[in-house]
Amino acid sequence: MDTHSESNSKTRHPLLAFAARWLLTTNHKEIGTLYLCLSFLLFFIAGSMAMFMRLELFEPGIQFVDPLHYNQILTLHGLIMVFGAVMPAFVGLANWLIPMMIGAPDMALPRLNNFSFWILPFAFALLLSTLFMEGGAPNFGWTFYAPLSTTYGPPSTDFFILGVHMMGISSILGAINIIVTIVNMRAPGMTYMKMPMFVWTWLITAFLLIMVMPVLAGVVTMMLTDRHFGTSFFEAAGGGDPVLFQHIFWFFGHPEVYIMILPGFGIASQIIPTFARKKLFGYHSMVYATLAIAVLSFVVWGHHMFTTGMPLFAQLFIMYATMLIAVPTGVKVFNWVATMWRGSMTFETPMLFAIGFVMMFTIGGFSGLMLALVPADFQYHDTYFVVAHFHYVLYPGAIFGTMAAVYYWLPKWCGHMYDERLGKIHFWVATFAVNLTFFPMHFTGLAGMPRRIPDYSLQFADFNMVSSIGAGLLGLTQILFLYIVVKTIRGGEKATAQVWEGAEGLEWTIPSPAPLHTFATPPVIADGDHP
């Protein structure tokens, strides 16, 4: 086992040593960095696909992207954003933060951790290679409904299927590692109810991942056998049913939605108390609310398919169960607001992003309630209203959450403070651009503009032009974000160990930048300490 020890790597060629360091690493901080870098790269790739789409939608008619290619970039935009940008970003944060927050020396299974990460670049290489294949990339949307993906899917669909299998293996192994780390590696005295909220939300997220990623693996396996081995899972002539695909997909898909937001809840619950200089209001209720959301996520998948022909009782049950989710989510939002109430608030960039997260995620939550109503959903289904809804929970939700986390913990990771002025500019421009892009989509959707189309009727022209201008601005803003992050890593004002005056938690007790190995001997958490 000592063949790769550090003393040995110094004698090698520097490039080889560099490759060995990052390819073979078992360190949670290095792997966290790898995850975040990959996620950032894929965020830009999928984001540029969005730019192409908005360019095409700038005006009615077909100008830049023909419908076939439009469908391909639309599909890959969705798939890469979900599996390549949001999920790896949160796993990267989990890697960096969970061991430091619970006082563990590393993740519980460090080699498995490396495996989980390095599967991903290969999986996305496989997925992106479909763009250059005969017949084009997958073109059926990120939900890959049968029979679009089975009978009518392009040949490259099989590469997509095997890519999804690889992502699934990576996610399951990563989730196992995170659960085991949290359950088994907490420092003495760190009881469950003393864990930081970010750790709690990730514990529940990892559970969801283990429960639903095999379901995704199963459904793509059925697709593969339907396509090539003669099975009839989604083929009515053989006694199967294309709607079965939707049931299985959304049984995975709905918990997946919460996988993409729960860690964001955790991040907001870390940041808001720091800058309000108060304890998190209602810590216990926060934990129970997260659990309730996770449990409910398993019984509401049908609200994605109200128009596909479900029995009435199923529609009613799912409608009420879906609206029930508003209760624990409301508990969370009120807790964040109550944490800020009468706090000594300051508005550094992480806090701005966290408040933006709370406010704009709530907008997405409200439009979600509208979509949960069966009779109303018949009107909204597959319109831009749905696009507006999930972009509001994903962009100002998941992505603002990630950005808040990067601004908040970056000084701890690299030892430098970011440029506060640029950070604030980034926040305000991004917030303006997000709303400019996605808010008009509510209107076009309610007016009946269908989603997933490269061309549209004249009456939607104004709002679409506004959206496209917003999207262009939003794209540019993220280049600013990249600049800020790179600048901070390369230099800047030295950060103290505490970094933020009001911050609490074990990660602030170690120096900035955090040394490669922390808590080799676990800290002891006293009885009085409380989250």
Binding site: M1, D2, H4, S5, A20, L24, T25, T26, P105, A108, L109, R111, L112, N114, F115, W118, I119, P121, F122, A123, A125, P155, D158, I161, L162, H165, I172, A175, I176, N177, I179, V180, N184, M185, I210, V212, P214, V215, G218, V219, T221, T225, H228, F229, G230, T231, S232, F233, A236, A237, G238, G239, G240, D241, L244, I248, F251, P311, H517, A520
Partner: protein, 297 residues
């Protein structure tokens, strides 16, 4: 540097070659499999014939990686680097892995129940689906097992009381013999351990052979294949994935047997053995569900 930590401290390994080897192996397998399918089906009829070899090289690399990786872990364990806490990590990891496997089988059971309770009755006009029935396949009659699909494919069904029942007895017995082996290990009765474990391997192998016989019977005499509608699809996918898991479990048991012969495991430290037996019991429980819902009712 080679003696990194003494045991109560958590053992954090230095860098390792095996994960990246595994990632590359997985990539080769996936890339090879997709090309293999494309190059061997008329539907795509892609040029070239490199898919198959790459796929098998990938599979071989995965096996190689597992040998290397598990070999490293075994050496660490023999060197006494596994603390109680690390042992717990391994146990929890295996438990959650089995839970994810349970979910994988749940999907296929879900498809089976959906077909039996919803899609087949609806195609025959149940509920408010009379129009579906009359407009699409008015001749279709609901039966389970499905002897004739709406599209007209005919097949016979696999009854429960021949080979499947014998196989149930074999697999349940193998779980019992494995438990006897475990008890023997706990009492340090190495000879009994070897015998019971060998018997388990034999039972697992017999089960697999009988599955092959059953499949041949299904293909040749019942006209049952993956292509015979949703009955054939669920039958072969459920029993096929189960058979794959039994194969994997049998290989794991053989490795355990070889390790027993080499003198590995002690009465109170034998996690790999326990993990294998958890896996084997899991495979057994899945079979009981399969026998009940695929063959019997």
């Amino acid at each position: 540097m080679s003696q990194i930590n003494e045991t109560p401290r958590y053992y954090v390994p230095h860098s390792s070659i095996w994960p990246i080897a595994g990632s590359i192996a997985l990539f080769l397998t996936a890339f090879g499999a997709a090309n293999f399918i494309h190059q061997s089906t008329d539907k795509v009829a892609a040029e070239g014939n490199f898919g198959g070899p790459i796929f098998f090289i990938g599979l071989a690399s995965i096996i190689f990686m597992m040998f290397g990786w598990f070999g490293t872990v075994i050496r660490e364990s023999l060197d006494g680097m596994v603390s109680e806490q690390l042992d717990r990590s391994y146990r929890m990891g295996m438990t959650w892995f089995i839970i994810s496997e349970v979910m994988f089988f749940t999907v296929f059971f879900g498809a089976l129940f959906y077909a039996r309770a919803i899609s087949v009755p609806w195609l025959a006009g149940a509920g408010n689906n009379l129009q579906t029935h009359l407009l699409l396949w008015p001749d279709f009659a609901e039966t389970w097992p499905l002897f004739r699909t709406p599209g007209g494919t005919m097949n016979e069904s696999m009854g429960p009381w021949g080979l499947p029942f014998i196989n149930t007895i074999i697999l349940v017995s193998s779980s019992i013999t494995l438990t006897f082996a475990h008890w023997a290990l706990k009492k340090s009765k190495r000879v009994a351990l070897g015998l019971w474990l060998s018997l388990t391997v034999v039972l697992g192998s017999v089960f697999l052979c009988l599955q092959v016989v059953e499949y041949m019977h299904a293909f040749d005499e019942l006209g049952l294949s993956l292509g015979s509608g949703i009955y054939g699809s669920t039958f072969f996918m459920l029993t096929g994935f189960h058979g794959l898991h039994v194969t994997l479990g049998t290989i794991m048991l053989i490795v355990m047997l070889l390790r027993v012969f080499r003198g590995h495991f002690t009465a109170d430290k034998h996690f790999a053995f326990e993990a294998t037996s958890w896996y084997w019991h899991f495979v057994d429980v899945v079979w009981v569900f399969l026998f009940t819902f695929v063959y019997w009712f």
